[in-house]
Symmetry: D2
Subunit: 400 residues, 4 copies
Amino acid sequence: MSNGTNGVWVIGALGDIATTLFVGTAALRRGLVSRAGLVAETAPISDLGLPPLESLRFGGIDIALGSARDSAEQVYRGSRTYSREILDAVLPDLADVDRNLVLDPGLAWNVLSPSRDLPPLAELAERMRACLRDFAASTGAEHVVVVNLASSGPNPDLAAAHRHLAEFETALDADRKNLISPSMAWAYAAFREGCSHVNFTPNLGADIPALRELAEREGLPFCGNDGKTGETLLKTVLAPMFLWRNLRILSWEGTNLLGNNDGRALHDADNRKAKIGNKAAVLESILGYPAHSGVNIDYVPSLGDWKTAWDLIHFQGFLDVPMQMQFTWQGCDSILAAPLVLDLVRLTRFAAGVGERGPLRHLAGFFKHPIGVSEHAFPAQVRMLLDYVERHRAAPRREG
Amino acid sequence: MSNGTNGVWVIGALGDIATTLFVGTAALRRGLVSRAGLVAETAPISDLGLPPLESLRFGGIDIALGSARDSAEQVYRGSRTYSREILDAVLPDLADVDRNLVLDPGLAWNVLSPSRDLPPLAELAERMRACLRDFAASTGAEHVVVVNLASSGPNPDLAAAHRHLAEFETALDADRKNLISPSMAWAYAAFREGCSHVNFTPNLGADIPALRELAEREGLPFCGNDGKTGETLLKTVLAPMFLWRNLRILSWEGTNLLGNNDGRALHDADNRKAKIGNKAAVLESILGYPAHSGVNIDYVPSLGDWKTAWDLIHFQGFLDVPMQMQFTWQGCDSILAAPLVLDLVRLTRFAAGVGERGPLRHLAGFFKHPIGVSEHAFPAQVRMLLDYVERHRAAPRREG
Amino acid sequence: MSNGTNGVWVIGALGDIATTLFVGTAALRRGLVSRAGLVAETAPISDLGLPPLESLRFGGIDIALGSARDSAEQVYRGSRTYSREILDAVLPDLADVDRNLVLDPGLAWNVLSPSRDLPPLAELAERMRACLRDFAASTGAEHVVVVNLASSGPNPDLAAAHRHLAEFETALDADRKNLISPSMAWAYAAFREGCSHVNFTPNLGADIPALRELAEREGLPFCGNDGKTGETLLKTVLAPMFLWRNLRILSWEGTNLLGNNDGRALHDADNRKAKIGNKAAVLESILGYPAHSGVNIDYVPSLGDWKTAWDLIHFQGFLDVPMQMQFTWQGCDSILAAPLVLDLVRLTRFAAGVGERGPLRHLAGFFKHPIGVSEHAFPAQVRMLLDYVERHRAAPRREG
Amino acid sequence: MSNGTNGVWVIGALGDIATTLFVGTAALRRGLVSRAGLVAETAPISDLGLPPLESLRFGGIDIALGSARDSAEQVYRGSRTYSREILDAVLPDLADVDRNLVLDPGLAWNVLSPSRDLPPLAELAERMRACLRDFAASTGAEHVVVVNLASSGPNPDLAAAHRHLAEFETALDADRKNLISPSMAWAYAAFREGCSHVNFTPNLGADIPALRELAEREGLPFCGNDGKTGETLLKTVLAPMFLWRNLRILSWEGTNLLGNNDGRALHDADNRKAKIGNKAAVLESILGYPAHSGVNIDYVPSLGDWKTAWDLIHFQGFLDVPMQMQFTWQGCDSILAAPLVLDLVRLTRFAAGVGERGPLRHLAGFFKHPIGVSEHAFPAQVRMLLDYVERHRAAPRREG
């Protein structure tokens, strides 16, 4: 029996973004903070009738030991993004997350060098599915959205195993851990358990034909990849201006400094490959011509969760005169990301409720590499969402 | 008989923007430079069938002594925005501008303290009209676009004289130089002589009901005010992003440093009042709520035409966390402005040709204070122009 | 009888800097924070044998109502410069400051428009002296350093009354509140009561011949004016580099944004006159030639105590090529200022102990406008202090 | 017989810095530009009696084909650092450089993978020496300063061959091109031919014990390595400020973007190793404690000779509060470097004249990695030069 609860299963549940998501949602419910940062709370999106914050219950998995409450203390101490007062107020609420938390270091592997000590893939996938079944059962949730917030890892090269569901499942049974990454296995588990899926990471997740086939077969919606929170957001806001003013980009160079766990993971060249690719690709896509572009990501521990990006944009105007723009973006990574995750959870749950299946193209503006969408210009992406809202405000709602 | 020539009459013809306009158009005709910076040369606007560059002939007036050729040398020496080689190549072409140049220090006055030595307004207005008649006659132009590129000056407070054409003409006959600014007199002269009008300055020009009445009576189009070239352009590109992401602007502070003649004029608080007002107003209009905002304009002679702007944007995200963005814009003022003027001339000439009258709303994106338009968000303004292009590409063209 | 206590009497005791001074000193004594920011704790200055932190007792006066404990809460809430945990730990210690706090709105006036309701100057000066006597008596301090941390206010134009002590006292008796500012009256009171004096504000304070005469007659040391904490510090560090490399400064433009009480006070043009003068003067003094230089100070409430400065340095190198440097300084005003105040208190107390009198020239590096010193280059000022330390480490110490 | 001529032999004579050196010296002699950028022209250094600009004659070698005149045209077209007018005026003067130019692609090799087609080292070294003899003979120079301005290349790991001259010459005879880099061979050739030596590159050059032994035996002075022109200069100016104010550096991250030939060479990780090492080492040396520090160097062709550096300095102040400083340095690499090379040539020639031998420690301030000096703080390095000037102004001069 449905109790009106919407389950949110978080992969990477002890990370900075997940922690900020739990703390922030609790603080919002208690009325301690404003709704700033939440796209879903602005008109006309707020008219859609999205699932209320109060309907959400969180659970999840992490490969590290700990608890949501401990993580909340650590984020507080490391980055001071919320105050002691807020932390103290919401700590009791985090106990509910901790009740639905699974700590399992075995549910992650590196496709470039999978450990030989792990059980076979099929067993791991079943463990993932069991997590989701248990979570649904214990919370009584009528629907579960699986949200991937894990660290960036290497993606496998695309192969036959990714093309069709049958081939994917064959590779799964054959324990091909070098072909099937943890993010893919989680997406697979989600769809097999009737869950919709949000992938906020640069890991491939559901973005392969085989899993899209599965999602469509099961009638489930999904979205991703790689949340667009800072430097890339600005790129997709500014590049259209240069294009429209016919100011030719000569070079666009970016440096990203960050000191959180994500920064530590991205310090590894294999791990940051997908993210740098996503960051670089948007520019040429928007401009329509190749422009010299570089992206550095450096790990600077002292910055903690405060990601600082500096971009230099060298462009050419009338009479071929070169000019420059620079920007510095000093944002707190988790604070930028967590509300978007909350938006995506609610919008994906809504989509599941109205029977949408496959990639949710109207959510392109949330991602660096929107699945199934080649439009990267932010204003155009905003319009895609507004058009969607326009259609769904009018339409009668079909509950899932 | 029409010879296919389109006249462009420039007020402030020896200024930096006008000089760059003349040099740049000549360099383009000679194939020395790319079309960078010209909006009208990008698809789909280039499909409209705008008047070709070759059809334009320039003339104009300045209150200083000099020649277009001398000004071209001065801009070269002061700001090096074009090379000696380009300058040498186009100097002969500037001789044609010089043939159509009127130097008349008497055709400008300050509404705050008009000189008593000047002839009455009616006589000055007649001198302006005579300039336009002579230019049309000597060039055989089928249509003349009057472009205001004069220095910023104080605007009169709005009064009854600005409300209706009859009252305006009464004030003109009564020699009320404190009510009718030079930019208004030029707009009046333009419309009376059948010219369309582009006002790139923060001076009020045609933006009063009385002159709009005249333009509509005469069936003439016009656009303005205050070209949107740098810091304000960025504001109207970035503010929509903050709005849509529900990131609340706490403060938006801007500092503009420039060293050209415009900078010298704006050094005077009376002169910069309109410009600062235009720069500040866009923010609240886009955001829909009041945000602390300051704009400094400082005269820094050594920068010459290189305008440097620094903006600090202080905003609040999830959990009410304050974050920051800064940008520096190092653009050459004339290089940014001149191609827009060329675009506006061609688009206004086109509009006159298809029989449009009154303010050209689809050109809002070119201006800090678009006449008759309250939309300041740049992406929305771009869409207004694209919609216009869509309508006019299909429609059969009615020549003026 | 001396109990080894050194009194520190703070004018503006409820302001942000004073509050941070009290909180920080308490946190240091409790071992909660490192010694970062304290010049006096670095070698070789730490070898001088300065009065220990434990020997200091604070008291002071403010014209607003409140308490050190309330101010500590407010600074915490407004700028989050210290954590809740630190605040909770030191709140009991602030009770001692509150015991020695005088709240007296009558002890401040504006020299440009002194209120007619105030008692005569002589009475006010006597009230100031009584404060100091009471503080010394109640704490048993063997010496009191009077520290001015009040808001910036207008300085009187220099006049005969400032030239000699006799004339000063005549003006005092004649109640010339337009000639004698609060900062002068406090310096006078300090010297008459045998106290040494530190003026961290741009208010003139003891920097007039009349009060210097008094300090020397009484054998008392003093230092000031206007603490050098951020943008000006950088100017005096960078300008010598440009000078030595023979890179000619064309323009040096600075914008300072701040949102604390000091920012509010400086929003008033009269109040910021002295500070802007101090900020601008250092450049020409270091370079030896006049360079175009502008300084803006803008009040941006949302920044709180976080002062953000942006400077553009336009300079000319070989072949007269113009180049640029920009910097952004994002410092917390009180956090930068408070440790310098603590340094100055200890160094001034030390100087009093070894019998120095008059302006303390070796402390020039702490001030934008060092009294009695024309050297502004920071490296040279550092050397002055190091030379002083060298002399005093060797010399036998004479206790006051 | 001496004709008062001082020879300057430039390795890398067609590069951007060398070209700017030739153009700039000619423009100075013709009085076309100011003395900006020249340290040697500022008091008191100008009192030393340095060899006049008029006494210098330039020659040199490059491994590319071309001429000084062609390079001057290319630099003009690529970076516009000097005007067409200056270029036209000095082109005739560059003919003299071209007369003394040797183009020899064989005089460079990569120590990591020396080509097998090259003649043996002993023969190459003899070719270098012959160049110098020919240059001295043809110009009649009384002394030749050999200046290394070649591209950055990999340095060999230090080995026994670098320890003593005898071992070095054994390796030379044994054709060990993986041990003896071109910069070492040139330093060797210089000293064997009685020339003094300036190494402006990060290549090791004379900075090995074996060559120091040779220089001292021959009574010749030398200086290097790696000219300090931009980001590192600022580091050594700013780091002492943080040190002295006891503001603890948490992280200091730098990004360098450049598009000239040097940038292209540094794009190769092997080539940039030495330079990055030099840039990073200064910080810890000045601070006295390890601070997280990163340096990126990226090749951005469109920037040409305009090197743009952005540094983020994260530091901790009172109450352990983290704060930030950022700077952007937009300098033209050759314009910053060339005058320092001219200074070094004159100061090294002076040193040779007064009989100094070995590394010239007083020139430490010119270099990122000053040979024989551990002091990196710029103010202290300035003092070293000023002390030297003080000693030599008084001393009677002994001509070489």
